[in-house]
Symmetry: C2
Subunit: 191 residues, 2 copies
């Protein structure tokens, strides 16, 4: 399971064979059942998660008790509540497995140690954060710019693999639709 | 003007006195008049900008010809169109000076060279991107969660300095209001 993480590092930076065991010693494997929580609202966000297999979602529960998903993470994606993680504070989010999922977790202090011992991983995370921030800036543009129907179009074009794997009601929540509206939209596209 | 950049680096990482001239040689100072463009839609986004003095805004022009501001940057903030910058592509955004502004610009290739020559700056940018991404993730939550009125409340609490400096019509555009609605909201708050 850890081989995949090393492969992902190696896509961005050079990893010496001899350093692999040392690097991996900073990570903790966690297996989750479908709908199992990795993080709960009100608990300290201690870790940063790399998805080895499966799918996570980040959501909050609004005052009406409705779950609002704002992010998904498939294989090779990183996810956490970044503000709560960097400040080691209580989170306002949940992170839950959409399907049976395996992750590798690293704590903030372990991540800082990792950078000191293996400087190429500082570069790796600089690149990961840089790319995530770039995508996020564009997403904010889309949230301002696109109608809900256009958001759906953009999403299925950019991430076709999600449509196959993510239950309709979660996709609807992510896009800010009711499940009924999403179902109508899909019918319209097929016809 | 470059002293301020060094001070900002030194808040996050150790900078050796002897390295300062070498570090600064990667940056280009640019002075902008109020409303002068630093980046235009349709041009390649070559640089990353550090605001030394003044204020920048990032906006796009929608199909109705209306400018939609999605981000501001005051002193000590970094700004660019991150997706276009990292891919060295044509931008869909404008970056414009809200007031008389001084920035330091660095190109993508210079930034990569800077990291190779001065590794502590790799860490600095990892931290800058990490914090920016954390703030951006929270902002996406707010865009899903808050009514426009709540967004305004949240914004003036988090960034009181903006309210003083940024023209009302730009603030309205950023918050997705008409200027008239913002003016009504402000009257309501005062009464």
């Amino acid at each position: 399971m850890s081989e995949q993480l090393i492969k992902h590092f190696a896509r961005f930076v050079e990893i010496k064979e001899a350093n692999i065991p040392g690097i991996l010693s900073f990570f903790q494997p966690i297996s989750l059942l479908k709908k199992e929580n990795l993080l709960r609202e009100g608990s300290i966000c201690t870790s940063h998660y790399f998805v080895v297999k499966g799918c996570l979602r980040l959501f909050f529960v609004n005052e009406k008790g409705v779950e609002q998903t704002i992010q998904f993470a498939l294989e090779n994606w990183w996810l956490t509540d970044y503000m709560a993680f960097q400040n080691q504070q209580v989170s306002n989010f949940y992170i839950q497995a959409v399907e049976k999922t395996e992750v590798l977790a690293i704590s903030l202090s372990a991540q800082e140690q990792l950078f000191l011992q293996f400087p190429p991983l500082e570069k790796y995370f600089r690149l990961i954060y840089q790319r995530a921030y770039a995508a996020s800036q564009l997403r904010i543009k889309y949230l301002y710019h696109f109608s809900r129907e256009e958001l759906y179009e953009q999403f299925i074009t950019a991430y076709p693999e999600f449509i196959q794997r993510i239950p309709q009601y979660l996709l609807a929540s992510f896009l800010g639709f009711t499940p009924e509206y999403l179902s109508e939209l899909r019918k319209k596209k097929r016809s």
